[in-house]
């Protein structure tokens, strides 16, 4: 069997290709980006004509994937955890409509917030949607789950969620790849009304979903990803979910864990396996990365007073990702201490690159804002969020994709005039346009600065969806054309930029300033590729 050294993210991509996927849909977001990029760079995916172009946002991606499933083909949609919030509407409703071709939603969570604004646990979203969830413990399972997940999806005509975390997504290991399955042919859904969620139909569909719950549990009981390991010492029983299983094994390198273990890789939880463990052992330790979902859930179906230890009761930390040392402490094993970090070591936060256009935008904005008052610059998600840190200290918010414009509008409604929004080009097309329309409709006194570097830069410089068309989009939405200003953010135009910003900040209505200069990283990459040719 051929083995490839793959990131967890890449293992999922390869698994999906080998599982007969016809299209992948996504918006870039760390730690999920590499799944789609792998498909984009895969020769075999190109030969098989697998769709892999980026979508404008996670909601459009989710809906397009559902459309591909409607037409009978196998589709995957991927996103980071907060992307699932954006896609929540079609995600939850896809569980009600059900699917035709297999549909897998892969969500990469980021416990410890390495590159995110929260550490929400997508298993809750899967549970909320009442669909099966697969959670790989290693790269091989990531591959297997993606490859075989489509069949699970098609068997019950349900979407399936694959949940991974940063650590697995961005860690490499050898993966044995298997035979490639063929893609589905186009077929239409048997039931023409299946996807029409009018209340009368939705009620029927919801009952089907509820009826399926017992089947989903039965699948979990028999899943190869859920295993019971008998131990000799019954003083403790361990439930280890996803990657936490590896941290457990790390502490018993000779395969000598004395306790019984239930390894969880598929949800809804296998009640029988867990009840067996609970009945046989004096107390339970739950190891799970993310929120205490399992710890909470099992208390709902087996609680006659035995101690259940985990993140919820405080034996393990409530936040942050797990690691082998935390797990060792939870098991009561001795841990080694390395040396402390000496005081001389200073923090080194990320920073905007030298020559980055966002720098010039913030230089100008900070100067322009001097006469308009402080703490009124709302911003957004992207490299330019680093403008919140020294030396710029230029922005006052970063909440979710697109929130800069709408928060500025709301603040302006409350009398904070002028209010400013700083947003990137890709974030603007992801979720900023509708907010701009709100502002235009009320002629809100806000100035929107689109710091346009013509790339989805933070995640590695992917194609931004409306490069070169932002001005037309703003005018099309209804911003007066004389208040859509385009600037070239380079140091030599600093004074001109400051003047334009001041003019538009003084305007009592919606103005948009597009500061347009390509990301220094993508520009230099292109230059290198060109010089090679």
């Amino acid at each position: 069997m051929k083995k490839l050294l793959l990131l967890g993210a890449e293992a999922i991509a390869q698994g999906a290709i080998d599982g007969g996927m016809s299209g992948i849909y996504a918006y870039p977001g760390t730690p999920s980006t590499e799944i789609t990029e792998y498909v984009q760079n895969s020769k075999i995916a190109a030969e098989r004509k697998i769709h892999s172009k980026w979508s404008a946002n996670e909601k459009t991606a989710m809906e397009a994937a559902l459309g591909m499933s409607y037409a009978g083909k196998r589709a995957m949609v991927c996103m980071k955890h907060v992307g699932l919030n954006v896609a929540a509407d079609p995600f939850i409703n896809s569980a009600i409509t059900g699917v035709n071709g297999g549909l897998i939603i892969t969500v990469a969570d980021d416990p410890s917030m390495h590159s995110s604004q929260n550490e929400q646990d997508s298993r809750y979203m899967g549970k909320f949607a009442l669909i099966p969830i697969l959670e790989p413990s290693n790269q091989q399972e990531a591959y297997d789950m993606a490859r075989d997940g489509f069949e699970l999806s098609e068997k019950y005509k349900t979407p399936v969620l694959i949940r991974i975390t940063t650590r697995l997504s961005h860690s490499r290991y050898g993966v044995a790849v298997k035979e490639m399955k063929s893609q589905n042919n186009n077929t239409l859904p048997d039931d023409a009304k299946q996807f029409v969620l009018l209340p009368a139909i939705a009620r029927k569909r919801y009952k089907i979903l509820l009826d399926n719950q017992k089947n989903f549990i039965a699948e979990s009981e028999n899943s190869i990803f859920n295993k019971y390991f008998e131990g000799s010492d019954k003083s403790k029983g361990i439930i280890a979910c996803g990657i936490a299983f590896n941290y457990l094994l790390e502490n018993y390198k000779e395969n000598n864990c004395p306790y019984s273990i239930v390894k969880i890789g598929q949800y809804p939880l296998p009640k029988n396996l867990i009840t067996k463990l609970y009945n046989e052992c004096n107390e339970i330790l739950v190891l799970e990365d993310g929120y205490p979902l399992v710890e909470e859930t099992i208390k709902g179906f087996i609680d006659n007073g035995k101690v259940i230890n985990g993140r919820l009761n405080g034996l393990l930390p409530r936040d942050g990702e797990l690691n082998p040392t935390i797990v060792a402490k939870g098991l009561g094993l001795p841990v080694k201490d390395g040396l402390p970090i000496p005081e001389i070591v200073a923090n080194r936060p990320p920073e905007l690159c030298n020559g980055c256009s966002h720098r010039d935008v913030y230089e100008a904005l900070n100067e322009a804002m001097k006469s308009f008052g402080e703490k009124r610059v709302f911003s957004d998600i992207g490299c330019y969020t680093l403008g919140a840190l020294p030396p710029y200290n230029a922005i006052n918010s970063c909440v979710d994709m697109g929130a800069s414009i709408t928060m500025a509008k709301g603040a302006a409604d409350a009398g904070l005039v002028p209010a400013v929004a700083v947003i990137g080009d890709s974030t603007f097309t992801h979720s900023g346009i509708t907010g701009l329309l709100d502002a235009v409709n009320e002629k809100s006194p806000i100035t929107v600065i689109i710091s346009d570097n013509s790339a989805v830069a933070m995640t590695g410089g992917q194609q931004s969806s409306a490069t070169g068309r932002l001005k037309e989009i703003c005018i099309g939405v209804g911003v007066e054309s004389e208040h859509v200003r385009v600037l070239n953010p380079v140091p030599k135009y600093h004074h001109e930029m400051v003047d334009v910003m001041k003019e538009e900040l003084s305007y009592n209505g919606v103005s948009v300033i597009i500061a347009e200069r390509e990301c220094i990283q993508t520009a230099s990459k292109k230059k290198k590729t060109k010089s090679k040719e």
Binding site: R172, N323, K336, G338, E351
Partner: protein, 197 residues
Amino acid sequence: MKKDIILSGVGGQGILSIAAIIGFAALEKNLFVKQSEVHGMSQRGGAVESHLRISDKEIASDLIPFGEADLIISVEPMESLRYLPFLSKDGWIITNTTPFVNIPNYPDLELLLKQINSYKNVIAFNAEEIAKKIKAPKTSNVVILGAASPFLEIPYENLVSGIKTLFGRKGEDIVTMNINALNAGIEESKKYTITAL
């Protein structure tokens, strides 16, 4: 055989290239390799680390437990100290001494080097200078890898072949430069009394 290695530096300094070369070499020797990387925000000039684990047996955890790393291989002096909680008591620090100064409160270099040399097992030298001397600019990361190679228990030929695999498509010149850098690093390590791990 088991080696747990923390690679550290600043985003963009090439620690993933070191990881890739060791990774390719280890695979060629039919060893198991597990390597976690940093993607996303911290790649923008922030502190970055990679956990690289090599073993002749299956590897469970993607992360190295605290106090169990055999080596810290760092391409930047201050970053060589950030991950000390991972280093085992007999572990080695192999680090470049050329600072990457992109913060206003970067410590005094002399004090920093004094701190680094206060630890038991240290190889610290100016890899930048060596790379310049052998006319192989931008290979200081591979010079550092060379200096760390005596600890890896991976034969020289496999490391060379790892370099060829990684840099092959960039042309012969780049491959040769990096092999020279590896050799120069190995030479440098000979100045130190290396105790077994």
